[in-house]
């Protein structure tokens, strides 16, 4: 019972903070997903991107607007090729927007940096380094001059402990399973102590059971660390289970944000209990409707 009331309190306080942030008067009609605040923690503002091709410029994204609060977990969902990864790469600074830009804590960001750590889809661990060394490479770079050697070692071990990889510190990526590699990838990103954690289909390449395990681990970590997360996914269940808000993208070219769905399920969330939960299933079907009724893949429309 107390857990439930705690959760409710949390939602209320988070709502209040949203209202606090906005200078606007309390207004029930205000769209909740777009709090009219100028002080969003992370803001993607009027962002478009064009890629030069032989047939002239190709506009992949058109006027993407997104405001994310501190500690929020956002999922980006959409059909493949709709530009989800492009949005993430722009936030990460790996791609430069043609128009608009990204503002993090009031400052524009346009180059990559450890404050926006990325978890890549295929783990991207350096294969010649051990698990420990992979995290060490990032920690040494980010905390140079800020932590002593002993503190760094402790910090590396702490982060690998978080993802339950302490048993394989000195193994190489080729000696551990795909799920474990992704855990190490997450540990490496967390170890950078990022302001925003960016995840590019982090569990996309894993089998369903491993994926479920990792999702549970991620929720557990998230409960303690309260990171701001932007995650790309094409898995509807994953989006509903993990997110505070689901951002649904229209099909490209000139893709943009179609709808934003706020997921007001209590935390901690349990996948087994939620399976029969009517609220959960309502969110799920809303995302499915968006993806398969309003935004069918173009080739399917032709057929």
């Amino acid at each position: 019972m107390s857990a439930l009331s705690n959760a409710v309190n949390k939602i209320i306080t988070s709502r209040e903070s949203t209202i606090d942030n906005s200078a606007a008067p309390v207004n029930e009609d205000l769209p909740k997903e777009h709090p009219m605040t100028e002080k969003a923690y992370l803001e993607v503002s009027h962002t478009s991107i064009e890629f030069p091709t032989k047939k002239g410029p190709f506009k992949a994204l058109d006027d993407v607007n997104l405001k994310i609060d501190k500690g929020e977990f956002i999922s980006l969902i959409g059909h493949s090729g709709c530009g989800k990864s492009t949005v993430l790469n722009i936030i990460a600074g790996l791609l430069q927007a043609t128009e608009g830009g990204v503002i993090l804590e009031g400052r524009e960001v346009n180059e990559p940096g450890p404050d926006r750590a990325v978890v890549f889809q295929n783990h991207s661990l350096l294969p010649w380094l051990t698990v420990y060394q992979n995290v060490e490479l990032a920690v040494k770079q980010v905390f140079r001059g800020k932590k002593t050697k002993a503190e760094m070692a402790e910090w590396i071990e702490h982060n690998l402990e978080l993802v339950h990889m302490s048993h394989a510190l000195h193994k190489r990526p080729s000696e551990i399973s795909g799920g474990m590699k992704q855990r190490v990838g997450i540990a490496r990103a967390l170890a950078m102590q990022p302001k925003v954690l960016l995840m590019d289909e982090p569990f996309g390449a894993l089998d369903a059971l491993t994926r479920a395990h990792l999702q549970d681990s991620l929720m557990e970590i998230q409960k303690d660390l309260q990171n701001t997360v932007v995650m790309i996914t094409h898995d509807v269940d994953e989006a509903v289970l993990l997110s505070d808000r689901i951002v649904m993208m229209t099909n490209g070219p000139e893709a943009t944000i179609g709808e934003v769905l706020e997921v007001k399920l209590d935390r901690p969330r349990n996948r087994v209990e939620l399976a029969d939960d009517s609220e959960y299933n309502r969110y799920r079907s809303e995302v499915l409707k968006f993806l398969y009724e309003r935004q069918r893949k173009p080739e399917e429309k032709v057929a």
């Binding site: 990460a92 450890p114 991207s124 350096l126 080729s174 950078m192």
Partner: protein, 340 residues
């Protein structure tokens, strides 16, 4: 323990001896014997058949220098060459003893006498020539590596540079060492002028010719290896804001190492082949010169001695390749990759 030994033997290219280790450890003798037969027995049978055929064919071919030597004659020449080597070494020792004795006597008569210590100048034996060849090939190979890897990395990192340099690479790559040699000889004799040269000109000429020919595989493989690094690995470096030198040495270079070693292996193989031809023409006192001198000599033993040199060239080439494969295996990130 057993697993460690087996792993060591497999990476170092002695996988044929693995069944012996397993046998010694008492693993199913029947299976291991079969394994041993297929790994060791089959090659031995193939070599035996080859020797028989060689012996048979050789007696049918008559040249102006007598019959083509069969395996037995070649073996005889090999032992002769070894004996000559031992004899020459004994002569050298005797020479030094005589010299010391003479100098000691001189000093006895007159403690202020000027004594001379002269180096031994006997003829180079077959084994000396092998050493010269190895020294030359490694000098050329090392120079090629030092030039090729940095250029390769630069080409791999920058598409524009690669586009610019590519035609040059494609034009210089197929040039035969024999075509380079006259130019290299002339340039070396013009540029390398010194009263007390550290190296012989023939040595430098041969080494540079080896370098010119063994440059390309390493360069191309390095460029391709660096260019085909997973984009995400580069992005990891960008996210943690690695300095570009760290990006090269901590990400690009290790990621491309397996490809670089493939290139180095091909380069060393080419270098060894080129060397023999270069030595023949440049008169560098190595195996190539040995073959040429024996050919000019034209005694009835010559063909046999040349055949010994030919087989030695092959065996050394095989050992060099085996050495590079071992390195390649050590630096490969994928333990399942089969490297042949």
């Amino acid at each position: 323990m057993k697993a460690k030994i087996i792993n060591f033997l497999e990476t170092s290219g002695f996988s044929w001896s693995v069944p012996m280790v397993r046998l010694a450890a008492g693993e199913s003798p029947r299976e291991q014997c079969q394994e041993l037969f297929s790994l060791l027995g089959l090659p031995i049978i193939a070599v035996a058949i080859f020797l028989l055929m060689w012996g048979g064919v050789a007696t049918q071919v008559n040249t102006s220098l007598g019959q083509l030597p069969g395996p037995t004659q070649v073996w005889q020449q090999a032992t002769t060459l070894y004996d000559e080597h031992v004899e020459e070494r004994e002569k050298e020792v005797a020479f030094h003893e005589r010299q010391e004795l003479r100098n000691a006597k001189k000093l006895e008569k007159n403690p202020d006498a000027e004594i001379k210590v002269r180096p031994y100048t006997g003829k180079a034996t077959f084994f000396d020539q092998i050493l010269t060849s190895l020294l030359t090939v490694f000098t050329g190979f090392l120079m090629a590596t030092i030039i090729a890897i940095p250029i390769g990395i630069a080409c791999g990192l920058s598409d524009r540079l690669y586009t610019a340099v590519s035609p040059l690479i494609q034009i210089f790559k197929p040039i035969s060492p024999l075509a380079w040699l006259p130019i290299v000889t002339m340039v070396v004799s013009a540029v390398y002028v010194s009263d007390d040269p550290m190296f012989e000109k023939a040595f430098i000429t041969s080494a540079i010719t080896v370098m010119l020919c063994s440059l390309w595989p390493t360069l191309i493989n390095t460029a391709v290896g660096v260019a085909s690094i997973d984009r995400d690995l580069i992005n990891v470096g960008r996210v943690i804001r690695l300095h570009w030198t760290a990006q090269v040495f901590k990400v690009a270079l290790p990621a491309a190492l397996p490809m670089i070693f493939t290139g180095l292996r091909i380069s060393l193989g080419i270098g060894w082949m080129v060397l023999i031809a270069a030595e023949m023409l440049a008169q560098n006192p190595g195996l190539g010169k040995f073959v040429w001198d024996e050919f000019q000599n034209g005694s009835s033993d010559s063909l046999g001695r040349i055949m010994v040199a030919v087989l030695t060239i092959g065996i050394i080439g095989f050992i060099l390749d085996w050495f590079m494969v071992t390195l390649q295996k050590l630096f490969s990130h994928d333990p399942n990759a089969s490297i042949r």
